[in-house]
Amino acid sequence: MLFRVDPRSAVPLGDQIAAAVRGAIADGSVRAGERLPAGRELAASLGVNVHTVLRGYQRLKEEGLIELRRGRGAVVTGAASPARARLGEAAEHLIAQARQLGLTDDEIVGVVRQGLAPR
């Protein structure tokens, strides 16, 4: 899969890496069970810090898209479907839009919670 990061963008590099993987899962070019390059390798490839890559991988793990195992690296989980990845992308859009409006993190969570409140 193609990883691309732009150091001049306002989006943190780790999030850009996560977005690249998310996008690849969303468009079907990366499927469940596929192994992502090791953090150290990808960091050397892109000329970024290992911790930056691992921060991106950690995000994907929290979204349930990948599994991180010692020695086995990062593997795309069986639960990671294109639709699931698109949901993550939608959340990114929501956050970006809310931040543009000047909302704080708590206010953004509040917006989502309001939408979830039983009617």
Binding site: M1, L2, R8, E34, R35, S45, G47
Partner: protein
């Protein structure tokens, strides 16, 4: 004047079969002819195996020896003809024919030398065949192989991809990009696992040395069964998927252009695996889509991998970036 000899095109089906069988028939005729000429002077049994100093140390009956050689040549001739007839081996025909021609010479020449050495000595124990006598056999093998290769017609050149100047991937000025994907052969993985298990079993049955040797073979096969292909600002790298150490790197400054095309392992490389050929080398674990790097040395480096178009496009873009700095 005829501008083109008939053999500059790949020979037709029946002709190819005839070319494949021909050297073996000639070899049979020569061996039988030499036997006929020397029959009344041959000792029985013959000296048929010679030590490093050229003295005889193995003996076989005349009929057993001649019959064995003739049957072996006929069997190989039939095998060669059958292989030459197979449609899917047509692309490999020049090498197939070269191997057959070379094999026929390498078998027939020492057999004739053995018969002549026996006939000259009169007594089997006195027969001498010094080691340097193998040189004519090797020379004949190379010569016959070259003839077979020439008769097989020109090797098929892969058609260059139609894309003008190769594909590109749009990247912003400061943007960094890397492409990474694993390629593999499930068959090789299964083979590696099977060999490892056989190694463990053999280790228990017949001692640790054989077991470890077989086990290691299995590990190597398994390691090559899944390979990570990386394309980035440094060039192209191949590493076992489970180990982060590249076993092959092609730095960007050795590449002139990258393209993507369908790769036929058998026709272009004579098989699967890490292959080295006269004008190209590479890792071909399956047929189908692959990245093709044109190297400055004029050679090609090929890797079969999915999504090769993206990898080739990225490489070309990175090459464009590097070009102003390297001055071409």
């Amino acid at each position: 004047m005829n501008p083109a000899t008939p053999f500059t095109r790949p020979p037709a089906d029946t002709l190819r079969v005839a070319i494949a069988a021909f050297p073996f028939l000639v070899a049979v005729a020569v061996v039988v002819g030499v036997h006929h000429q020397t029959a009344d002077r041959l000792p029985d049994p013959l000296a048929t195996h010679f030590g490093a100093d050229g003295t005889a140390d193995g003996f076989t009956s005349v009929h057993g020896f001649v019959l064995g050689i003739v049957l072996a040549l006929l069997a190989l001739g039939i095998g060669g003809a059958v292989l030459a007839h197979l449609k899917r081996l047509v692309p490999a025909a020049p090498w197939l024919l070269a191997t057959g021609w070379s094999l026929a010479a390498v078998l027939a020449v020492p057999a004739c030398a053995t018969l002549l050495a026996n006939a000259g000595a009169g007594r089997a124990e006195a027969a001498r065949l010094p080691l340097w006598q193998l040189l004519p056999a090797l020379a004949a093998g190379l010569l016959a192989g070259a003839v077979g290769l020439w008769l097989g017609g020109p090797r098929r050149r892969p058609e260059p991809s139609g894309a003008q100047g190769g594909p590109r991937l749009p990247l912003a000025a400061g943007e960094r990009a890397g492409w990474s994907r694993t390629t593999g052969s499930p068959l090789l993985a299964a083979l590696g696992l099977f060999t490892c298990c056989a190694g463990v079993l053999l280790g228990f049955v017949s001692g640790p040395f054989a077991g470890v040797a077989l086990g290691l073979t299995g590990v190597v096969a398994g390691a090559l069964a899944s390979v990570r292909v990386t394309v980035d600002r440094r060039g192209l790298a191949l590493a076992p998927a489970l180990l982060p150490y590249a076993f092959r790197r092609i730095p960007l400054d050795r590449v002139t252009e990258a393209t993507c095309r369908n790769v036929e392992p058998f026709a272009e490389f004579g098989g699967w695996g890490y292959r080295v050929r006269a004008h190209r080398s590479g890792l071909v674990l399956r047929s189908g889509e692959g990245i093709v790097l044109q190297l400055r040395s004029g050679r090609e480096f090929v890797v079969t991998v999915d999504d090769a178009a993206t990898a080739a496009a990225l490489l070309n873009t990175l090459l464009d970036r590097a070009r102003p700095h390297r001055g071409d």
